[in-house]
Each structure stands twice: as C-alpha cells, then as structure tokens.
C-alpha cells in the first residue's frame, strides 16, 4: 500500500515536470535585454567636484579600510577642495554609506554594474572617471 502511494507520487512528479516543457522560458537574454533597475540601485560611483569640500566624512564612514583617498587643498578663497579623489572598487562594498552621509550630496551612485575588467589598476576610479560618470549619468537624467 505504501509502495503504491510512492508510485502515484512518482507519476505525479513526472507529469509536473513534463508540464514545464510547454511553458515559455523565463530566461532573460542578458547582453541584449536588461532588467530595469530600481532608482535606489547602488552601482558605480559618480562624483561632483564642485560640491565637495574635502571634509572626509565619506572616508570616515566607509566600512572598508582605505577605499576612498582624498587629497585636500585650499583654493584662493580659503575653501577646501579635493585635488585628488579616488575610490578603489577593489575594496568598495557598495554599501552606499558615503552617499548617505555626504553633507553636500557630492557622491551619487549610478546604475552601472558592468564593472568587470582585465586590469586591477583601472578599477581604481580616479577623479576624472568619477566626474565623467557624474556628467554622463546623473546630469543627463
């Protein structure tokens, strides 16, 4: 009797699997089609130099050590500005703390997640790359 029960459930299982062959595949053809991302998606960084005062808050709240490097300098008016600013993607964990804590909203996150690269050095985002990201992705939107 018990064996008969097993046999019936075996047949039901096979039929359930067979049903799926007639269904449409759910696969997303990735490089051609992409999922629409949420606005809050945390991707590659963008950086507005004009808003930044090189206060170093982002550096302090960053959970990984040595991700953000700032080299600050005074301009003629006595205001601080970042001469060099870099985010090392090899260490960044994309938590978004720097975006949240920045008092001037200088750092933003874009929706770019295709960051794979052959060289490790290019993954360190220098100030120019970050600026370009800002112009391309934040302002254009």
């Amino acid at each position: 009797m018990k064996n008969l029960k097993y046999l019936i459930s075996l047949i039901i299982g096979h039929l359930t699997v067979f049903k799926h062959i007639f269904k449409k595949p759910v696969t997303l053809e990735y490089p051609e089609k992409k999922i629409e991302l949420n606005d809050k998606f945390r991707g590659e960084h963008a950086f507005d130099v004009e808003k930044c005062t090189a206060c170093g808050t982002c550096q302090r709240v960053c959970p990984s050590f040595g991700t953000i490097e700032i080299e600050k300098e005074k301009d003629e008016n006595g205001k601080f500005y970042p001469k060099n600013y870099s985010i090392d993607l090899n260490k960044c964990i994309f938590c978004g703390n720097c975006v949240q804590y920045c008092p001037f909203g200088a750092i933003k996150m874009t929706q770019n997640y295709e960051l794979a690269d052959e060289k490790k050095s290019t993954l360190k985002l220098e100030i120019n790359t970050l600026k370009r990201n800002y112009f391309d992705n934040i302002i254009d939107k």
Partner: protein
C-alpha cells in the same frame, strides 16, 4: 545484409572490378557508417540533453554558438581535444591510458548488433541479443580500471560503486530479456523484431504483453548507464566526480563519448526489444506505396525503417532525460534494495505473465 552485398557486387561489376575486391571492402562500409553515425549521434545527443534539460527547467539552453546552439558540442569536443592531458603522479600509467579505451571500444562493437533496417544488422547470428548483454558489461571493467589506476580514493569508491550497481542491475535485465526471448522464440534481434509484426499496426509490439518488463528494463538500463537517479558512481556531492576524477582532456572525452553512445545504444536496444525496432508503427511504409520503381522503393523502405528506429530511440532518450530532470539521486542502500527487492521480483513476475500469455495464445 546479403541483399546489400548483392547490390554492392553489381555496382563493382559495372566498374569492371573483380569479386574479391567486393569481398574485402564490403565489411569496411558498415564499419565506416557505424563510426560516423556514432560521432554525429553523440554530438547531437549531448546537445539534445542540454537543450531538453533546459526546457524542463524553463531555461533556454545553449543558443549562442551557431544557429540554435547547434555547434555547442563541436566546440566542446575541439576544446577537450586541445586541453592539456594530465597523468598524475602515482598512477598506473598503462592502465590509466587503457581504461578510457576499454570503456569506449566495446560501444563501437555493440553498434553492429542493433538491426537498423531489414538488411542492415552487421553482427548477425542466432544469439546476438545475448552478445549485447555480454559486451555492454565490458565498459564497467574500464570504469573499474579507471578507478584503480587513478590512485585516488574518490575514483576507487566511484568505480567500485559502479561495479556493484552493474552486478545488481544486470540480473533483472537478463530476466526481462529472457521473457522477450520466450515471446519471440528467438535470440536473434532481427527475428525478435520480425516477431513483433502483426496485421494491425503496432499491436504486436512486446511492450503490451511485457509492459512490466519494459518498465523494469528501462530502470535497469538507466542504472547500467550510471545516469540520474542512479548516478552514484559520479555523485558530485560525495565523490568529486567519481571514476573520472583524475581524467582530463582527451581521455575524459572518451569516457564522455562512451557514456552517451551507450545511452543511445541502450535506448535503441529497448526500442528493438519492446517497441518493434524498425517496424513502422503506421503499419505500412510510405515509400513502398508512393515510389513505382521497385529498386528505389526497396531502398526508401530501408531508410524509412532506419528512421523509425531513430524516432523510437529518441523517444526513449527523451524519457531518460525526463527522468533525470525529475528525480533526485538515490542513496547507496536504496539503490541496492531497489534492485534486489523490487526489480528482481517484478522481472520474475513479468516472466511468469509472459509465459502464461505465450501458453494461452
């Protein structure tokens, strides 16, 4: 076979060639056919398995290489050929090289036994169905040698499991084969196929009197092939990759090839025994009715018969992939218990039923 030989002889006579050339060259032709068909079948079988498994899980499967992913397996084959061939330290070098060959070459031989059409069964003698069972067991020896020669504990456990499995499952397999022999009153596969012909289409197939035997044989076939759910010798979660853990590149490709070729042959064998082999399920051959020329009609009938063998075989292969997509792997003791406690009594029961049917009719 005699008829084909006669045709070949006539062809050579047209070109004014002596008879002995025909005698020497004729056996080469079926062999070439077999070797070429084997490669083509395996290449598309692997692709078919990946595609069908993908459809069962609502995926798309390989579709980037060539149209509809048709060249995927060819890419795999070329890559495996070009890969570095590693022979690890501490292996028995001779046996390590011999094992894949021992697993692969019997498969080539077994191909000749299957009757693909009325005239095309290369190895044809009175008890060739028994020869199938005998030769189909040799790859297991190759697997055992692979496990022994690899000097790796996972390989050894995997191969020993494979042998234990083969011994348990060969018994019900042969009992079911016996029931078919009782039904057909012959051990020749061609005679078995011809015994299934009847005046009504597909009513004479042995799957009806020996349905229980069909199910048992199918389960045993899957176990013989070491496929899911009986893939204990290659269980990835316990033994890294079973008997082929230490094999790379070309040698692994041989195991791969042997496994899939054996899968095709096992399905062709089941189709021959139970589903009427090359007989048309329509009851007639299309070419026979349409083509007025007698010679061409005969030829078209042969192709049609081969076509039906392939259709039945691929239906069974589809079922095997279906089973693989559904069932999880059994445990070791469940596997042996299933063979001895369920399949063996069932096969004996099947033999009894078949004998009663044979006695009544």
């Amino acid at each position: 076979m005699d008829y084909l030989y006669f045709l070949y002889l006539e062809l050579l006579h047209k070109w004014n060639l002596p008879d002995y050339i025909a005698m020497v060259t004729f056996p080469i032709i079926p062999f070439c056919f077999v070797a070429a068909a084997l490669i083509v079948v395996v290449i598309f079988l692997v692709l078919a398995e990946r595609k069908i498994l993908a459809f069962f899980t609502q995926r798309k499967g390989p579709n980037r290489v060539g149209p509809w992913g048709l060249f995927q397996t060819i890419a795999d084959a070329i890559k495996l050929l070009c890969k570095e061939n590693i022979t690890p330290e501490g292996t028995d070098k001779f046996l390590f090289t011999l094992a894949p060959l021992l697993a692969f070459i019997p498969v080539l031989v077994v191909w000749g036994i299957i009757p693909f059409c009325n005239e095309f069964d290369i190895i044809s003698f009175s008890i060739n169905s028994l020869l199938f069972v005998v030769i189909a067991a040799i790859p297991i020896l190759g697997i055992l040698l692979a496990g022994y020669a690899s000097n790796n504990k996972y390989s050894l456990i995997g191969s020993v499991r494979s042998v234990a499995q083969a011994i348990s499952y060969e018994l019900p397999l042969i009992f079911v084969l016996l029931s078919i022999v009782v039904l057909a009153s012959s051990m020749n596969l061609k005679q078995i196929v011809l015994a299934q012909s009847s005046i009504y289409p597909f009513c004479g197939y042995f799957v009806f009197p020996a349905f229980l035997g069909f199910v048992v044989f199918f389960a045993c076939g899957i176990a013989e092939l070491n496929r899911c759910p009986f893939d204990l010798p290659e269980a990835e979660s316990e033994l890294v990759s079973g008997y082929n853990t230490e094999y790379s590149g070309m040698k692994f490709a041989f195991f791969f090839l042997a496994e899939y070729a054996m899968m095709f042959i096992m399905c062709a064998f089941i189709a021959t025994l139970f589903l009427g082999g090359f007989l048309s399920p329509l009851g007639f051959y299309v070419g026979e009715k349409l083509i007025p020329n007698e010679f061409l009609a005969n030829l078209s009938v042969y192709f049609e018969q081969a076509f039906w063998v392939f259709v039945k075989t691929f239906f069974l292969i589809f079922c095997m992939i279906w089973v693989r997509a559904t069932l999880p792997r059994l445990k070791s003791h469940q596997l042996t218990a299933f063979a001895w406690k369920v399949l063996l009594p069932l096969s004996l029961l099947n033999l009894l039923i078949v004998c009663l049917i044979k006695a009544v009719l």
